[in-house]
Structure formats: C-alpha cells, structure tokens
C-alpha cells in the first residue's frame, strides 16, 4: 500500500509539473487528467473510495471536458504555442519558483513539526458515513453549495451570451 501511495504521488507530481510547463493547452489538459487520475488513486489508497470516484467523475471527467470544449470553441491557432514559448523565458521562472519553493518548505515544516507520529491507522471511511455527515451535520452548507452552483449556472449562462454590452472598451476610450 505504501508503495502504491508513493508511486501515485510521483505520477501526480510529475504530471502536474508537465501541466505547468507544457506549451500547448491541449497537452497541458491531458497531463492534468493524468494528474487527477493519480490523485484519485491516492485517495483510494488513503481509504476514501467515494472521493476517488468523485475525483475521476467530476474533475477528470466533467471539468476537464468543459476545458476541452472551451479550447475547441476558442479554436486557438498555432501561434498560441509560439507565443507561450516567448512568455516562458527562464528569467520569468526564477522569482516565482523561489517564492513557491519557500512556501513549499514552510508547509513541509508545518507538516513535519506538527505531529511526532507521522502515520495513523488506516481505516476506510465508507460513503454512508460521508452521506450521513453531509446531510446531517452540514445540511446548511449543502444548501449554500447548491445556491452557489445555481449562481454559477446563471453567471455562466449570462456571460456565455454572445452580445454583451461592450463596457470595457467604452471605458478605455474615455
């Protein structure tokens, strides 16, 4: 089990790194799917099969499909890739990388210094438990989440319309 965990972890890290560095959005997207699948496996290893399934269905499935649709709709030409490579000079990488590294080190420090026993007994938490907690203790949060989704739908519908009044350019002219 431990071995599986480390394996999938490595895959997730590598795939994610490829996402960040890839030149073409579609390539990045595929790496992202890989990453999500790896994380789903990690979930399974950690004893959360329901979440692993959700990860695959919602993240790797639905959300990624949305991205794909969007890329297809925008119909980005080949110049995007070359443009990207222009942006991605090494000098651009240095600062943010250092910053993220520091943040990473700090987080590691938190994790390491927090608890002497680095491990815990594995115990699977089945969907039933999750369901009871979700509809019991967190019923109000579920309501909020549903409202959020509704708001997301409305917003996406509104923004997705073709003819929005062109405020930005007007302001730019002023």
């Amino acid at each position: 089990m431990t071995f599986a965990f480390y394996l999938f972890s490595c895959i997730a890290i590598l795939a994610t790194a490829m996402v960040v560095t890839s030149r073409h959005p579609v390539h990045g997207l595929l790496y992202l799917v890989v990453s999500f699948l790896a994380v789903a496996s990690v979930f399974y290893v950690l004893g959360a099969p329901f979440i692993a399934l959700l990860e695959v269905i919602v993240y790797a499935g639905a959300i990624m499909v949305l991205f794909v649709f969007m890329i297809m709709m925008l119909n980005l030409g080949p110049n995007v890739a070359s443009e990207e490579s222009q942006f991605l000079r090494p000098s651009v990488w240095v600062g943010p990388s250092l910053l993220c590294l520091v943040l990473f080190v700090e987080m590691i420090y938190v994790v390491v210094s927090g608890e002497p026993s680095a491990t815990a007994a594995a115990s699977e938490i089945d969907p039933k438990q999750v369901g009871v907690a979700l509809i019991g203790k967190y019923y109000l949060a579920v309501e909020f989440a549903s409202m959020l989704l509704l708001a997301g739908i409305v917003a996406a519908y509104h923004l997705g319309k073709r003819s929005l009044p062109d405020e930005t350019t007007e302001e730019a002219i002023q």
């Binding site: 996402v19 990045g28 979440i51 987080m107 938490i125 923004l159």
Partner: protein, 102 residues
C-alpha cells in the same frame, strides 16, 4: 492493519499546491491560470481528505465535496469569462487585458 502515510499525503498536497501556484504566477495564458487554480484546489481537497483519514472522520471528505462544488462553479464561470475575454480582446494573455492605470 496497514499504516497510512499521513505526512506523505500532506507533503504531496503541499507539493501539488506549490506547483499549481507556480503555474498561476508564471503562465500568462488564462486557460493555464484556470487549470492551475484547479490544481491548487485539488491539492487543498487532498489535504482535507488526508486529515479526515487521519482522524477517521468523514468531515474531511465532506469538505472535499464542497471544494468540488466550488471548483465546478468556478470553472463554469471562469471559462465563460475566458470566452468573453477572448471575444473582446482576441487574446488570452492576462497581462494585456488590464485597462487599469494603477
């Protein structure tokens, strides 16, 4: 009885988060920015699930579900915005879309 690599899980979450953040900071393409935000949220969810697993409680997973919801809504709205922006500016470079004078 197997032993869970709790620390390993948290370190993985931290790593994914850092990489996602790096992407947000470096990439100028809005699509990439959105993808990297997804990565970061996923990492956060991972941390929740690991913590839940450690204490043997379902709450971590519940929160992953909430994060999932937020991510879904965010992607929907975000992609609609990307669509709109591309239509208006004919580019996805988020530096060139700023009209603020600041």
């Amino acid at each position: 009885m197997t032993v869970l690599p709790v620390n390993g899980g948290l370190v993985l979450a931290a790593g994914l988060f850092a990489i996602g953040l790096l992407g947000v900071l470096v990439r100028r393409n809005l699509l990439y920015t959105l993808m990297c935000v997804e990565i970061m949220m996923n990492a956060a969810g991972l941390a929740f699930v690991v913590a839940g697993a450690k204490w043997g409680q379902p709450d971590g997973q519940v929160f992953f579900i909430f994060i999932l919801t937020v991510a879904a809504a965010e992607v929907a709205v975000g992609l609609a915005l990307v669509n709109q922006i591309y239509r208006r500016f004919h580019t996805l470079d988020n530096d060139s879309t700023s009209s603020m004078r600041g």
